[in-house]
């Protein structure tokens, strides 16, 4: 267990990550943290304070930083590359060749993903990162949902051998899990049970999926909510079980509907238990300036949209059963 007591209830995921990393610094003496002039934004200023000698400053030069992480890993260290998600996109090819192709034990931790970035606007909002990193062979892709899970996931990626891309988050995060929450790479969990539809979500969308389940409960629709913090490798067994038990799905993510969680779920179910799926996410658009909640509403990511997608999925399920 890392030290969840360090993490305040209202902490953002980036703060939870930074604080946990700092608390794990002594236990993992091989960890080095790479920064490109935004330690205050990514949360690793906490690590800089506790372990200044293991903080490596690369300046505003993300491509150099990403490939250098491969070199650091080659010497036996565990490099943690930190920058905003959108600037990880800038260095995808370096991550591909010098981290994944070479199978280096390096971790890429990306803050400021998705519309959650808010007022900086469309140029700064990475809605493509899960797709890009998921497409790289051997890359594990993780997007935790709350500070407690972020804390667990931070330990998990340090214990795990191999390249990882992990999203944190900018906004204050709603607490979903208790400090006894167990995060395991590759495993989703049912965070609320239901029998009519399964909502599979990651990151900020898990809290919204739970709100959607409340809305649906008012209509006597029983929605199951799955927190799928590992997008790759996806939990095929859990998805197949949910397909058998609920017969239809909604996916929800702060990402383009193409290539992220929704695609991963669809790929899995298409091969095991084909059934209706509705996708909640940004519909192949770029973001814009605005506050995160306003943007979520504007782009259709809030609870009422998830609830509507659930009604649509259930209707499709009923129709296909009638036909069948």
């Amino acid at each position: 267990m890392s030290n969840p007591a360090l993490i305040a209830n209202s902490d953002s995921l980036r703060e939870a990550f930074g604080k946990t990393l700092s608390s794990l610094g002594d236990e993992f003496p091989n960890v080095v943290v790479l920064d490109a002039d935004i330690a205050g934004g990514t949360g690793v200023h906490h690590f800089r304070k506790s372990h200044p000698e293991r903080m490596l400053q690369f300046g505003i030069a993300e491509q150099n930083m990403m490939a250098a992480a491969g070199g650091l890993a080659a010497t036996g260290l565990i490099p943690i590359v930190t920058t905003f998600a959108v600037f990880c996109l800038r260095a995808v090819e370096q991550a591909r060749l010098s981290i994944a192709y070479t199978r280096r034990n390096a971790k890429i931790v990306a803050s400021h993903p998705g519309l959650d970035v808010g007022p900086d606007g469309g140029s700064a909002q990475a809605l493509e990162d899960l797709a890009a990193f998921r497409a790289i062979p051997g890359m594990t892709v993780i997007s935790p949902a709350d500070p407690a899970e972020m804390s667990q996931a931070t330990r998990a990626i340090l214990e795990f051998e191999g390249p990882v891309y992990m999203r944190t988050g900018r906004s204050p995060s709603r607490r979903i899990f208790g400090d006894d929450h167990v995060f395991e790479i590759g495993k989703g969990q049912i965070v609320r049970d239901g029998m009519d539809v399964t909502i599979v979500a990651c990151g900020v969308e898990v809290a919204r999926a739970l709100d959607a389940a409340d809305l649906l409960a008012e209509e006597k629709i029983s929605a199951r909510v799955v927190n799928m913090a590992t997008i790759k490798p996806i939990d095929d067994a859990l998805l197949a079980k949910c397909a058998a038990e609920t017969g239809c799905f909604v996916t929800a993510e702060d990402h383009n509907i193409h290539g992220g969680l929704g695609s991963a779920v669809a790929e899995s179910l298409a091969q095991s238990t084909p059934c209706p799926i509705e996708f909640v996410g940004v519909r192949d658009q770029f973001g814009a300036s605005g506050e995160p909640e306003e943007l979520a509403q504007h782009y259709g990511l809030t609870a009422p949209f998830i609830a509507q997608a659930a009604r649509d999925a259930i209707a499709r399920k009923k129709k296909s059963r009638k036909k069948g």
């Binding site: 205050g40 934004g41 505003i60 606007g121 469309g122 140029s123 300036s289 306003e294």
Partner: protein, 300 residues
């Protein structure tokens, strides 16, 4: 100074040098005040680097660029690219001062459905030449524009404004080598050399010096100037425009947060800051605004 297309609109006879300098100083002051007001309304933004480049922007828009609000699609217009896109509030303000957009509308900075996003976007604002916000890329796009114009025998010039921290991007030096190789004497880079970046001093994050020597080694024509001295800025741009066979770089020494004492040279005023009403009023007062004007800027 580009002269070929000056006739796009009917021009008044050129003002005496001193009048022009006075006008530009007013434009720079307008830019600072409006940048502060818009960041106040937005509740976030990057004031330090907006204030440091205001005099340079005023000289570009008010004297140097052959670029006019009624001819933003003119193929032979000069191009300006704000490669340090986070200084958008200053760009919006100077552009408003020179009639490219509405100053009131620009106060909707960073709000949902506003065309004035946190970083400039060409699809929102047609007078913006390209979308920026990811450091380094604006320079490469400006380089492409300079190449394209040259290929098409245009006399138009291209200006790109870069932050000093931005110079740490490898892409900047790829573009620098490329521009010199292709002898792009229609390209001028302006460096807002305020010595600070996001987290700290350049010298603490990633050393840039010897900076002029680096550009010299890349075979650029160099000028090192005071980026707040309007006559010197004007003279330098004129010389850059007359340079043949090489691209020009203007290393403009500036003060981050210039004009607002509590921001000057303080790294934390780089970005992600919320200005309180008191701070905004204080800043505007330091920039010479009086009661009515302050109320007008802050009470929208």
């Amino acid at each position: 100074m580009a002269s070929t297309m000056r006739s796009v609109i009917e021009e008044a006879p050129p003002p005496a040098a001193q009048d022009l300098e006075k006008q530009l100083a007013l434009a720079a002051n307008f830019t600072r005040k409006h940048a502060i007001a818009s960041i106040y309304h937005a509740g976030s933004g990057h004031p330090g680097g907006a204030l440091s480049c205001a005099d340079l922007l005023a000289c570009l828009f008010g004297a140097e660029l052959n670029f006019w609000p009624n001819a933003i699609d003119e193929p032979h217009r000069d191009r300006f690219v704000l490669s340090k896109g986070h200084a958008a509030p200053a760009l919006y303000a100077v552009a408003a001062h020179y009639g490219f957009c509405d100053a009131k509308a620009a106060l909707s900075l960073r709000k949902l459905n506003s065309k004035f996003q946190g970083h400039p976007h060409v699809l929102d604002l047609p007078w913006v030449e390209t979308s920026t916000g990811s450091l380094g890329q604006g320079f490469s796009v400006a380089l492409g524009m300079a190449m394209g114009l040259k290929l098409q025998q245009s006399k138009a010039r291209v200006y790109a404004m870069l932050g000093d921290g931005e110079l740490q991007e490898g892409e900047v030096w790829e573009a620098a080598m490329c521009a010199a190789h292709h002898r792009l004497d229609n390209l001028c880079v302006v460096i807002d050399y305020n010595k600070l970046q996001s987290d700290n001093l350049n010298s603490a994050i990633m050393r840039l010096e010897p900076l002029a020597a680096k550009w010299r080694a890349f075979d650029w024509a160099i000028a090192e100037i005071d980026g707040h001295d309007i006559p010197e800025i004007l003279r330098t741009f004129r010389r850059a425009g007359a340079t043949h066979g090489r691209p020009s770089v203007v290393i403009a020494n500036t003060v981050k947060g210039k004009g607002v004492k509590y921001m000057e040279n303080i790294p934390t005023w780089h970005g992600s800051v919320k200005l309180s009403r008191e701070q905004a009023e204080d800043a505007l007062r330091q920039l010479g605004a009086r009661g009515d004007e302050i109320a007008e800027l802050l009470n929208v």
